[in-house]
């Protein structure tokens, strides 16, 4: 996060500055932007970023909806308001890393994160790095990394954003964002509340009446406080606090009469980030404390399942630069996790320590980056993981990128400590991945085009599966499988803007297709696996497209996604097309701006499922209004 702070600051605020005023900050910006490249990007791999303030054209309410519609990432959604996890390039949910300001949000108990619990506006920027990045970011960065980054808006004296949305199935969202500060301090308070009945009617079978979903109520409250403080010319300290409460009923499957199950998630996340920024080096230290509690109850079966964990993570890194050609980074990280779970006989404590080195070289039209990481988990060495990436702009209209890396995932606490079946002797899943991309950006008049195609290959050994233990009536975790994933990801984008003024006509088109072959390489009886068989919940074909038309105060956007047939637990899951429409009108007067929008989701009223037995809603609507007020400091404006 920290490395983006100043760059964002510059992007947001610089137009208002006179150039003579802030030489120091200008200098810091360059240093900071350079530093950012080492860890925030995965050189040679494919990265996407979304500024939240620019997302008016997308009909997404949370991060899972954004990623699903904009990137071709397969989101395994259990239904409206229910659990949603990601699968990137044929991996499982545990093979993706979700970072909040650089620290992992993944539950060490489950090894995954419910993306439906992440409101879109909880941070200022969301990024997606596809491909392995364990050499820089550690365990779990195998399929890809979703980054959530908070960024300050120094120079805003007062700002207010209020947003309210009403939707089908009794859904209401309210958002409040209050910013305050000056040139050296900036604070922002964000409050998000969501509630919904989700009592949609879904298709059962031809000739049968629709069935109404029950016990699907959700409510969620997020309170986030960010505070940024520049101390002197070189130091900056950031504070982040994120309090989350989610109360969800768990709806029945479409082959279950009823459900009265309920799940409550509570989390508290605290982070302090300090950095000292100089012309030739940056020193950074940060500490995070995450505490989460999950309370699942199903009174129908007298089941109460409680679990919680606390993680204290710290990182210290030094980045050194030489004339913007050579850059090195050295980082030490440590995390201490303590967990409790009804399913464990002990309260495990997990210590992870890692040392990481990166070297970056840039000259003329090529860049090169290599990294290496060694991690120690409870005294056991994890395989050494290196990576090597390059970016070569052969011509201004033709670029070649590539990356080779070794990546790993440490077993979850459930894999290690669940009673019975947890296996403390599990090895980490690990393997090599390779990818290469050619891209062809070009401009014709006012139109910008880019074609690109990425090919990737990845092998993961020691893939952890739960299987029947020999001679025992329960299952255990074993390092039994191997998975080979490979694929092609062609992309096309087009952008046209008639004028540079606000009243211009703009057309923004993005199209992508993913071919992902992800196969089991070890045959097993149970769980049933055949060699060469596509792993479950990974469609072979996926495609997405979005076209946005902006003219004066109006934005019209249409998103379309195609998800091909996939194998499920019980058989094949049919392919489906989903369309989303967004219409938006905004108006402003001086410092005030208001926006009205309408989302029509699943606009073709398609009957589909993502996860077997979990019905999805047909066409539904979201109508919202947003009011914004921004008062920049007068001293900055002059």
């Amino acid at each position: 996060m920290n490395k983006i702070i100043l760059s964002t600051f510059c992007i947001c605020i610089f137009p208002f500055f006179s150039f003579g005023q802030l030489d120091t900050i200008h200098a810091l910006r360059e240093v900071e932007i350079s530093a950012k490249k080492i860890r925030k990007q995965s050189l040679g791999a494919q990265n996407q970023k979304w500024k939240i303030k620019d997302l008016a054209k997308i009909a997404a309410q949370n991060i899972s909806e954004l990623i699903s519609s904009e990137s071709g990432i397969f989101i395994k959604s259990y239904g409206s308001g229910s659990l949603a996890t990601s699968s990137i390039r044929g991996g499982s949910a545990g093979h993706n890393l979700v970072l909040w300001n650089g620290f992992s949000l993944q539950s060490p108990i489950l090894g995954l994160l419910d993306l439906s619990l992440l409101p879109l506006n909880s941070v200022e920027e969301i990024s997606l790095q596809k491909g392995g990045n364990s050499a820089i970011l550690g365990s779990g960065a195998i399929g890809g990394v979703i980054g959530m980054d908070s960024q300050p808006s120094f120079g805003i004296h007062r700002s207010l954003d209020v947003k309210s949305t009403i939707g089908s199935f009794g859904n209401y969202n309210q958002e409040l964002k209050i910013g305050y500060g000056g040139l050296r301090i900036y604070g922002v308070t964000k409050v998000f509340h969501q509630q919904g009945e989700n009592n949609f009617k879904y298709f059962v079978a031809p000739g049968f009446p629709k069935r109404q979903q029950t016990n699907a109520e959700v409510s969620q409250l997020n309170v986030i406080q960010d505070f940024y403080w520049k101390m002197g010319q070189n130091n900056q300290v950031d504070f982040h606090i994120w309090q989350q409460f989610s109360n969800r009923n768990i709806p029945p499957t479409n082959v279950q009469t009823k459900s009265i199950a309920n799940q409550i998630d509570r989390s508290t996340r605290l982070m302090v980030d300090w950095k000292n920024i100089n012309e030739t080096y940056v020193i950074q230290g940060k500490v995070g404390f995450f505490k989460e509690r999950l309370d699942y109850r199903d009174n129908a079966i007298s089941l109460i399942s409680l679990s919680d964990f606390s993680t204290l993570t710290s990182e210290f890194n030094v980045q050194k630069f030489w004339k913007n050609k050579h850059k090195i980074l050295g980082a030490i990280t440590h995390s201490l996790t303590m967990a409790n779970n009804d399913g464990y006989t002990e309260s495990p404590i997990e210590n992870r320590s890692a040392i990481q080195l990166s070297y970056f070289f840039q000259k003329n039209n090529y860049k090169f980056q290599t990294s290496i990481r060694q991690e120690l988990v409870d005294g056991n060495l994890i395989p050494l993981v290196p990576s090597l990436g390059f970016d070569y702009s052969i011509f201004s209209w033709f670029k070649f990128q590539g990356k080779v890396s070794r990546n790993y995932r440490i077993p979850t606490l459930n894999d290690r400590f669940w009673n019975s079946g947890g296996n403390k002797n599990l090895k980490p899943e690990s393997g090599w991945s390779e990818e290469a991309t050619i891209s062809n950006p070009f401009t014709i008049g006012k139109s910008n085009f880019e074609f690109s195609i990425t090919a990737f290959n990845r092998n993961i050994d020691n893939w952890i599966l739960w299987a029947p233990a020999q001679g025992q009536p329960f299952w255990s975790a074993f390092n039994v499988s191997k998975v080979w994933s490979r694929g092609l990801e062609p992309r096309f984008s087009f952008f046209y803007k008639s004028k540079t003024t606000e009243n211009s006509l703009a057309i923004d088109v993005k199209i992508g297709y993913d071919f992902i072959k992800s196969t089991n390489e070890v045959a097993m009886e149970l769980p049933r696996r055949e060699v060469g068989e596509q792993i479950i919940y990974v469609p072979l074909h996926q495609a997405f497209g979005r076209a946005t038309l902006s003219w004066k105060n109006i934005v019209l956007s249409y998103q379309h996604s195609f998800t091909g047939k996939a194998r499920g637990q019980f058989g094949d899951i049919n392919s489906y097309h989903i369309g989303n429409i967004r219409m938006q009108y905004f108006t402003g007067w001086k410092k005030y701006k208001s926006t009205i929008f309408l989302n029509i989701k699943n606009s073709w009223n398609v009957n589909y499922i993502v996860v077997e037995r979990r019905p999805m809603p047909g066409t539904h609507f979201q109508l919202g209004i947003k009011f914004s007020f921004n008062n920049f400091l007068n001293t900055i404006k002059t």
Binding site: V204, A205, F208, R211, I250, P252, T253, N254, V255, Q256, T257, K258, S259, A261, D298, A300, I301, S302, L303, G343, T345, N419, S420, P468, Q472, P473, F474, L526, P527, R528, R529, I536, R567, Q569, F570, R613
Partner: protein
């Protein structure tokens, strides 16, 4: 029943293929209690069979068999994994056995029953499986599916071992069957049902395995792998028993009767009572654990029946009229 035993008359005694009923009442456990191995006992014996149990103290789980007197037929889910959907044993007896059989469960024949034919066993669903098939749960489907038209079944397959070799022949019993074109005929077994095992022939042990139409590639069968048994009737080979006058061995009253009869055992020896219809078909079989026993016969059609009481050394029969 004519097929089941052969009478060989001698001067004052006869040779019969004796039968032993394993009804688990010998454990005498209180109502709503269970023997799940937590007391360290992992081998249950009743009549001439033995059942094996595994217990995992660290999480309270068990495998194999438990001896149960649970009456809970309403609690869904795995926390109620040792009750039968009948809430008791055959003919309202207290005790029965429940198997958790994800990979098969074994009944071993002991003593005189080893190597002999097994007559049969009463079977019903476990409550966990019954309610799961009726309503579905987070893992398993409601049988019939969303429309009621899915052709689901939950099948118990019984094979025998003899001389260390498993038989290719098997007896199949559908604990639930939704394959009927007319959905009103679909059923999930909710009462004790006799399963004749004589076709398997001589055996050293029996293997019970379950299969279902509800399977996932990751977890195998989703339907909870539980079923319950009671009154396993084994043959004990030819034994000589003295054919005696009924009044020297037992008394029954009232006779004629309607819904029940009282059977007084006059000897201390362990005894069994069998009721046959006039075609020789076995209608019920119970151990006589007390001197005075009440036997429920409300399920029997009106007519004349033969009540046979047999100890290890004596046998006597008397006609009974149900009005």
């Amino acid at each position: 029943m004519k097929k089941l035993f052969t009478f060989l008359l001698t001067l004052s005694s006869l040779l019969v293929i004796a039968q032993t009923t394993s009804d688990f009442e010998n454990y005498g456990i209180p109502v709503d209690s269970v023997l799940n191995g937590s007391d360290g006992v992992h081998n249950f014996n009743s009549g001439n069979i033995s059942l094996f149990n595994e217990y995992f103290p660290s999480w309270g789980g068990w495998g194999g068999w438990v001896i149960s007197a649970s009456t809970d037929i309403s609690t869904a889910g795995y926390t109620n994994d040792f009750s039968s959907i009948t809430g008791g044993g055959v003919d309202n007896s207290l005790t029965y056995a429940v198997a958790y059989a994800p990979y098969g469960s074994i009944i071993k024949l002991e003593n005189d029953a080893q190597g002999e034919i097994v007559n049969g066993v009463y079977v019903t669903n476990g409550t966990y499986a019954f309610l799961s098939m009726t309503d579905g749960d987070g893992f398993a489907k409601k049988f019939g599916g969303a429309t009621g038209d899915d052709e689901d079944y939950f099948l118990l397959t019984i094979k025998k071992y003899l001389g260390g070799t498993i038989s290719s022949d098997s007896v199949n019993f559908y604990l639930a069957d939704y394959r009927f074109a007319d959905n009103s005929q679909d059923y999930i077994v909710d009462e004790w049902t006799w399963v004749d095992l004589t076709s398997l022939g001589q055996a050293d042990s029996l293997e019970f395995s379950l299969s279902s139409t509800d399977n996932s590639s990751n977890y195998g069968m989703n339907t909870p792998a539980y079923f319950a048994i009671d009154n396993v009737i084994t043959s004990d080979g030819l034994v000589a028993v003295e054919n005696v006058e009924p009044k020297s061995l037992f008394e029954i009253y009232p006779n004629p009767t309607t819904d029940f009869l009282i059977l007084k055992k006059l000897e201390q020896e362990r005894a069994e009572v069998s009721i046959f219809d006039m075609t020789g078909r076995l209608m019920s079989n119970n151990s006589l654990n007390n001197f005075k026993n009440e036997i429920n016969i409300h399920n029997l059609a009106k007519g004349t029946y033969l009540v046979k009481v047999q100890t290890e050394t004596k046998v006597a029969s008397q006609l009974l009229i149900k009005q």
